[in-house]
């Protein structure tokens, strides 16, 4: 570790300015590395017009809020198809920053809003610099949000091809996907080591073209959000469930709401659901309509008959109080869910997780050991699982006892530091 001195982390956003998991992970890594002896860590976070007046499109790169070692990359005229920069000033400032810092390691957390071309720029300006890249989802493989969910029928996608991708994005010709892949491969060829936070991601990326010997798993890690002792839940059935996350299509809120409707139709109503999260404006129109219709119908019911509460968005500072209201956390995502920070957050508070049986969720939550799986996208399967969770004696206690401690940010930092040395 002694030879690693200066590390530059590059994030697609700053967690205080944008929603999303990867900025949180990058911030956690930054905060942890800043505590390590012999490491000098800097973070550069992209920012765009969504950040309001913080965004300075003609500035290129600035500091952020007077914080030591934190810079903002003010994106403008960015090409979100090929993920490249069209503003020479921004690239010039990036080069100036590289020359000023002279990092030994540059660790990219994503390329969205950053630009793939900055990877090659690092290699050109600092030829001996070690470059790491962490895939936070499948954006390299999948041009449709990086989720590998087919837009044709919402099924999970297992591979990219020009024709298959054209079917999801018909405005793009098949040839464009081949060029996009070539462009990605060309820039990613400068990367020394790739990482992904879940093991199941490795095979899709190897199949896509990443050399197997250059990609490995390093878990995401977070600081504990437990800031005070958790109160003991009252005795009785463990029938309080919580959803935590954005109300996007792929987060599967509608699967949960349909499961509630199924249970209500059968007369089973002795449970409560807390929906914690915002961002419904980013949901598709049908999903938004379904959620809002359900919400309005729920509002019109007598208070005693309401099952679902919509609590709105929350900050990480509020997560303990939100978690205190539930016994279980439900993760009904209808995509691969790369890591599921919400799983880690549930585990911080000892909450067993009920989740879809695919991807990062299935990898992390062990069915019948520390949580329960249900068939992804199937409201009936989820309804049956909720009913079982409410009614089976000793189930919650058994799973609760087996809930693991979530990966810490120290564990994550150790994993990356080992790769920084080896790269």
């Amino acid at each position: 570790m002694s030879e690693v001195e200066k590390i530059l982390l590059i994030s697609l956003g700053h967690p205080e300015l944008v929603l999303g998991g990867s900025p949180v992970v990058c911030q956690e890594l930054f905060d942890e590395l800043r505590t390590r002896a012999g490491v000098e860590c800097t973070m550069l976070a992209a920012v765009d017009r969504d950040a309001g007046d913080v965004h300075q499109p003609k500035a290129g790169i600035t500091g952020f809020d007077g914080r030591d070692g934190v810079y903002l990359l003010h994106q403008t005229d960015h090409d979100y198809w090929l993920h490249r920069n069209n503003e020479p000033l921004l690239v010039d400032r990036f080069i100036a920053l590289l020359r000023a810092i002279e990092p030994d390691v540059v660790h990219f957390h994503h390329f969205m809003s950053i630009g793939l071309d900055l990877i090659g720029t690092v290699r050109r300006i600092l030829p001996s610099c070690r470059i790491l890249f962490t895939f936070h989802e499948f954006a390299a493989i999948c041009a449709a949000d990086g989720h590998m969910v087919r837009r044709t029928d919402r099924s999970l996608c297992d591979r990219a091809s020009p024709v298959r991708c054209h079917q999801c994005l018909p405005d793009r010709q098949p040839d464009e996907f081949l060029i996009r892949k070539m462009w990605l491969e060309r820039h990613l060829s400068h990367v020394d080591r790739f990482t992904c936070p879940s093991r199941f991601m490795i095979e899709p990326y190897v199949n896509w073209g990443i050399p197997r010997d250059r990609i490995s798993h390093v878990t995401n890690g977070q600081r504990s959000r437990v800031v005070r002792p958790m109160l003991t839940p009252p005795d009785g059935p463990r029938n309080r469930f919580g959803f935590f996350g954005l109300l996007h299509d792929d987060k599967g809120v509608t699967v949960l709401l349909r499961a509630v409707s199924l249970l209500r139709e059968t007369g089973f109503t002795q449970f409560r659901i807390d929906i914690n999260g915002g961002g419904i404006q980013h949901a598709s129109a049908p999903v938004r309509r379904e959620i809002e219709t359900f919400q309005e119908a729920e509002r019109l019911l007598p208070a005693a008959e309401r099952i679902v509460s919509f609590n709105g968005a929350y900050s990480l500072d509020q997560i303990q109080s939100r978690m205190a209201r539930v016994d279980w956390t439900i993760v009904p995502s209808v995509w691969w869910e790369i890591f599921g920070l919400v799983i880690s957050e549930a585990w911080m508070f000892g909450r067993p997780v009920i989740c879809s049986n695919v991807g990062g969720m299935a990898e992390r939550v062990t069915h019948e050991v520390d949580g329960l799986h249900f068939e992804m996208g199937d409201p009936a399967s989820l309804a049956a699982t909720i009913r079982r969770a409410c009614t089976e004696d000793g189930l919650w206690q058994r799973l609760h006892a087996a809930v693991p401690a979530p990966p810490s940010r120290a564990e994550m930092a150790d994993g990356f530091l080992a790769l920084y040395e080896a790269a």
Binding site: N86, G120, R186
Partner: protein, 584 residues
Amino acid sequence: MAIRPRIVRAVIPADERDDAVRDDVMREDVMREDGDEFAHDNDLIEAPPGSDDAVDPDFDETTYLRAFPDIAEAVRRGVLTSGLEHFRKAGRAEMRLEKAEYRALLAAYAGPAAPQLAIDTLTISPSGSTLMTGWSNDRFDQLTEINLETRPQIRHNWTAFPRLVRTDVERTLEAPPGYRFGFLLVAAPVGGADAPLINPRAVNAPIFRFASGIETQARRDPVVASDADLRDLALAALPTAAAGELDPEVIYGILDQHVGVQIAAINRLIVEQARVRRLIERFGPSRGRFRGSIITTSRGGADQIVPRLALAGGGPGADEYEFIVVVTNADQFEPALRAARIAEATLGLALTLVLQPEGDPAGTGEDAAADIARSDRLIFMDQAVLPREADWATRHSMLLDGAPAAQTRLFGGSLYHPDGSLSHGGYYFEQETSLQARPHDLPRRITAVQLKSVAHPAPSASRSWPRARPVTGVSAAFLSVDRAWFEVLGGFTRHYARAAHEDIDLCLRSLSRGVPAWIHPLPMWHFERRQPVRAEPSKGGAILNSWLLHRQWDAMIVPDLLGPEPALLNRTDAAAPLAVGVGS
């Protein structure tokens, strides 16, 4: 020689052509009925009667100047602008038109009426290129010569020109089918690219001479157009010039009568103009000489520049090469400069931007860029072509170092569609016979030489790279050529329209000097379906190109070069120049 100024104004939009022709004829008839044998000039004589500018209908400029040499001398010296000016200022008061010498000359020139004629279109470029179409009812007094003075002492002189079927004129004149009333005149500037610019609106009216010796002028205000637009207008006229007959023989006949040569000369002029009107901006590392110069014309938006530079120049070995990007769309100059700065910063390539404000948007820029290359190897790479292999530059260099010189002096790579099928593995010629339907007659058998490219529709047939071999020609989509050899050959022929056929023409010239083009296993993607395609030649342009190609090369193609694997090339000693006895 009788001078009979006679202006026949025929404004003939396509949809009114019959009416317009009829009006001309009717006007002629009316004048004859009036006994006005002279139908004296002209547009100048149109002031209201009684006004100061009113002119006696007997006034005739030429006769006036011949009758009064003192006035002619004053005009010659510039004291007067014309005889008419003198007439208005003094001649009328002096009753010059009544003087014996004027009346005698007027009477002496009286003769048979000039045949009817009309100019449909007159287009002139500031450099002096000219396109004129029209018709003449010269069945009984043949039109033999047309002159158009574009600037003092400089005139286009046509004594041979194609005559065209004009069914509209036939109908209006009630003439039996068969006589070709129309004419099509094309002329490149006298003096070529070095000629001084002219004012197209100030050219004199064309003079038409007939077999009888009669001369007449016809006036039509010229439309001013660029050389490129004029060229395109001339090409657009070709398919319709034969009254809808797309019979190659008919159209080739039109081209043979100087039209083809003149359009080709205008094409050449356009390229020459592009060569001198350009800005050159260099970016990235500078070194004395590069291994090769990769030349691409940017079509469409400048947003294509950085991605294709990254994909063509980002692999191993590419730093030995320089990139030259030609931008011919002025709207894209600023975006192109920004893209070049991005490429310089992120890729570190040696890049030269060639900004050609008035460049022909296809192909010609690449030719013009060749002379600023900083290497002895020119690689023409179309914007729609990208290497399949990241290390293509290294492999290209290895070819130059390892293969016999005769195999690398001029060569191409195999081009593949994105689905993996071979789109272009070299040109070849095939002689094909087709049947041309004819109304009320048996179809006519037409045998013609067709230019084709080796292709495999199935990806499986293209799985292994084709072996290196000599071919009849390679596509300019990816063409690597020794610079000295390129210059010996005279570069790309600039006569073709829209840069079509310039590649096969270059290869045939090389072959005629004993050096066939080769295909080497350098696989390239060819995204021709997605990329903004280069402006295709119009139907007329394709006809011109085909005419030029066959006119120049059929004597070599037909005996020696037919088929995908012509016998001539099979005889080639792979390492030695080929002995070729035809062509020049």
